[in-house]
Subunit: 523 residues, 2 copies
Amino acid sequence: MFGHNFIAGARSAQGNVTLQSVDASSGEALPGVFHQATVEEVDAAARAAEAAFPAYNALSPERRAQFLDAIATELEALGDDFIATVCRETALPAARIQGERGRTANQMRLFAKVLRRGDFLGARIDRALPERQPLPRPDLRQYRTGVGPVAVFGASNFPLAFSTAGGDTAAALAAGCPVVVKAHSGHMTTAEFVGEAIIRAAEATGMPAGVFNMIYGAGVGEPLVKHPAIQAVGFTGSLKGGRALCDLAAARPQPIPVFAEMSSINPVLVLPAALKARGEQVASELAASVVMGCGQFCTNPGLVIGIRSPEFEAFLQTLAARMADQPAQTMLNTGTLRSYEKGIQKLLAHSGISHLAGTVQEGNQARPQLFRADAALLLNGDPLLQEEVFGPTTVVSEVADEAELRLALESLHGQLTATLIAEPSDLSRFAALVPVLERKAGRLLINGYPTGVEVCDAMVHGGPYPATSDARGTSVGSLAIDRFLRPVCYQNYPDELLPEALKRTNPLGLLRLVDGEFSREAF
Amino acid sequence: MFGHNFIAGARSAQGNVTLQSVDASSGEALPGVFHQATVEEVDAAARAAEAAFPAYNALSPERRAQFLDAIATELEALGDDFIATVCRETALPAARIQGERGRTANQMRLFAKVLRRGDFLGARIDRALPERQPLPRPDLRQYRTGVGPVAVFGASNFPLAFSTAGGDTAAALAAGCPVVVKAHSGHMTTAEFVGEAIIRAAEATGMPAGVFNMIYGAGVGEPLVKHPAIQAVGFTGSLKGGRALCDLAAARPQPIPVFAEMSSINPVLVLPAALKARGEQVASELAASVVMGCGQFCTNPGLVIGIRSPEFEAFLQTLAARMADQPAQTMLNTGTLRSYEKGIQKLLAHSGISHLAGTVQEGNQARPQLFRADAALLLNGDPLLQEEVFGPTTVVSEVADEAELRLALESLHGQLTATLIAEPSDLSRFAALVPVLERKAGRLLINGYPTGVEVCDAMVHGGPYPATSDARGTSVGSLAIDRFLRPVCYQNYPDELLPEALKRTNPLGLLRLVDGEFSREAF
């Protein structure tokens, strides 16, 4: 059944179109054939998720937590063969994939913890006030429940953590929403292994068939997003792809929310005192961050800004030297390499941009590149500087003074991250920039590099457009569950018909907002 | 300056197009002329909100609470002249408007309480783990901040509570978002008085100019929603109008969220034992609910469903008699009356629908009407039964049995409310319907009528499409603030640069999620 679509707990291969996965390094076809889902299979997958929704959404948080924990265990049990397969499909090194497997499992466990903690339920109770004048107040109780089936589009660059069993799937399943995953064409064998792991976990924990579905193929995303059973979409990928899904979803008879994580250049501001104190070190760290994982991170630093000074010039020289030292690397797939080449060509062709380091981009690997842009491009909002070039490259720009720095930041589009490299004296001097950065980005860092994204309660991996399609969400960390929940209010319901979260005795032991005060009490 | 647009704390009348408000009962023009905002004035209003955003959003929750409290006081100080004006513009009775003034003021005070409680900030802290292997964890802190300027489109039917100083404005201002209100053409004088009250409150509490802006005129909504400074939209009105705004917002270079509360028929299920025990009483109560306020409520019960039985027939006869007794009433404006007439005509023209009570709809007032639809129309999803007819009318339908009742509910579109009229024995027998209702509506009632919407923490005035454009929001109650907030994460920020909500000493005394546990501690 390898390569068959996952529908309602079974496998299905009705269509005639087949696909093969390729070795990202050699380009040779990998063993196994994948069956592109037919229109009927897309429909069946969405209907299976819809059919599973009432039963799955009605399960206690504890039951869903057991399912997520079981997925984590199954993911960790995927062995060396699996790691080798992921490496072949993505050209990512084994250590990275091992780490990502652990991270993906832990992400499931974090959501299991959220389910057991129960604050995601948002329980609120306003008790009846029968004597109130001029009118009595009824008993009103609110909690949050799943929105319905969720379509998930995984990312090429995190074949585990942002894909079949990635953050969107984990958040949706935690929220009580069955999923239909569109398997990424860049790592279909990986998706197959992970899909089977999820199905094993679903069966072991007695989940309804249809809680997890996955379809293969090109062009299956559009009918999936348009399907009336689908109630929300999670996506990680390009601005073009994400925006196309947003437009499709907005044009449906019933529009649905799309949470697309798309394009960010992640500005890094290197401030004067830091350059004076440790310019060389910063240059080395920054070069390492730019080329890490062949630059294939949503949070890759794509724009470095400093204020004109001898120290900034020295920093640029070191940075250029470090970047020139970095080896070429194999990208996730040839499509990614072609995009990188195009992005580099555009930068090279721009009259306001000069090339500081890197050898001619040719061959089958991505070569690290460093560019320098006139500050005027930033200040005038030149679109090329706002575009993410996915790969091991970055653009530096020098502004004249503090006033220009502020203007440059104001001109930026929405970002996932914004970073200050700063000494304490820089922070006193530039404190007024922080509110500007807050309006531009979902995560603000000091003296770190944005490429590490911790999976925890406080993380925000999101930000204003075009970083994401909706700045009110995050696709990493436990708050990601909020995207797939909607509030419901029960008025004058007897205890036996209320959801557990709202019952008088507080059987889930929740911290609830009761008559305006937080309390764990029963009453 | 009467009738001039409110821009950045001043008044502006650059255009040549003027409008007059009319007496809803007599149709005669009311004194005073309103200046339609020019394209430049729309731009200026949005820019004023944008300019005010950084300073306003940076204010402490306490300062914003003082502003909302001051608005409440100013609203309550609007005297008998004001009440008389609102009554003339809307044909609503004085007692209703007095009550609505109190409700609107109390709504402001509820959001002031939310600001002081601070849970809207969603503070989360994951402290650094410098010793963690293989990588240390940085210090990560998350809170929620305003999304930016919000455009507000008020409703005709609540000239105070859902309009200039209504729930959307209160929620946006609480969230730290300046607003641009598009004054409703049906009650421009009311808007003028309320706008001045807000400006007085803003000046008295030292708010930045531009925190509140309001524009008059037809056609000014489109450039407002398209304006790049606007970051979210609140709307209450028709499905057609709301969907048009959603489509405009989705097609912007930067799409923005629209929270539109649009169309709901608010099904009421009268269950067998309740009919047996108190069918006559239910009929009287229901008739009163249908005609209350001339049926001009978003939560007006537009569909009544029962199971075939002699008791249901008897109930229908009583309901028909009660509806026939109800007097004609003046509607909010002639446009509303024309819509009502059209809706009634469509119902009369449908071969599957019969007319049970009501005199021929003619003249200047709306006459209460009762219709009966074949259950087949429900079961087959006939679109006419899913359309809200705004006014004093309702449609009853009789299903054969429990199975058909469930199918009928499954066929319904999204609703603001769903109501069970039930005895305890009904609730045991029909308990399985509750999850179906939960998927269909934002608020579920037992033995109440949906027309009263309490303003409190637990209220949900929202629901799946087309009740609203996004089931994840509410436009009544304190959770409404969530629509206008976005999360931001600070990584390794020193205490002095963190927002108050996230500082080590917890100066706001918040309940924060610290390392996965809720705590009010400083550390």
